[in-house]
Subunit: 117 residues, 2 copies
DNA sequence: GCTCCAGATCGACAGCCATCTATACACAAA
DNA sequence: TTTGTGTATAGATGGCTGTCGATCTGGAGC
């Protein structure tokens, strides 16, 4: 995303008879769009969708050692997906002794869900 | 995504004292997760978020020639983003004469929003 | 100290993605 | 029929992503 998303018109509407009414600029501005795209990108993988689904179904916390066997993937790959979700603010992490417990932070999902509806 | 997402446990829970209760398999199965990830991936770009936002705000149809000037991007790039949204079932297209009019198909978004909430 | 284990990180590799320029296509108008 | 215009496609390119095996880290227990 090496693009300045500042809404900076470059081309003009075609001359002659217009094709349609002029439209308003998007109300969702750059930062909001970037934030929602970041959450959407974190959900843009079936494994991560299923990870979030499992975590939400177990409202408490789920140990990583329970998550890995659910997928036909290596432990580092599952750890990678969990990190993507963590960096998007979708899940949180608490370490207790040897184990790591993940849980859903509903706020990020709620923001996207609110815009979608 | 070269991975069979059929939930096929490979590792066992650690022996000795368990770290947590066994958890249920995700209720969202493979096909549903793949479908939602496809929609999420189509929204995983700020430009596409803003395109959807503009189209939704103009419940009718919006000509491409109105969309291109909103972004600091080339016309082919905007066309590419519109195609991604089209292939994800998020927007529809109607051509009239020289012009192409895009509109939102709310169903795909509603499915994702429903799961998120 | 040493060892074991859960989990994270590293490095590599293949495939995908966003962007551009150049070009093609389809329709309109002269 | 030739020219012009709106939009889509093609091809190239640099960067990002998903996956793996190997390794590191840090706590538990002896």
């Amino acid at each position: 995303m090496a693009v300045d998303l500042e809404l900076a018109p470059k081309r003009k509407r075609p001359a002659g008879e217009p094709c349609c009414e002029p439209i308003a600029y998007p109300e969702v501005q750059r930062e909001a769009a970037v934030a929602m795209a970041r959450v959407a990108r974190a959900l843009a993988d079936p494994v991560r969708i299923q990870l979030v689904d499992v975590l939400r179904r177990h409202a408490g916390q789920v140990c990583v050692c329970e998550l890995v066997p659910l997928f036909d993937l290596s432990q580092p790959t599952v750890s990678h997906h969990l990190r993507v979700l963590r960096e998007a603010g979708i899940v949180g992490l608490e370490r207790r002794g040897l184990w790591a417990y993940y849980y859903v932070l509903p706020e990020a999902l709620a923001t996207l869900a609110g815009w979608l509806s």
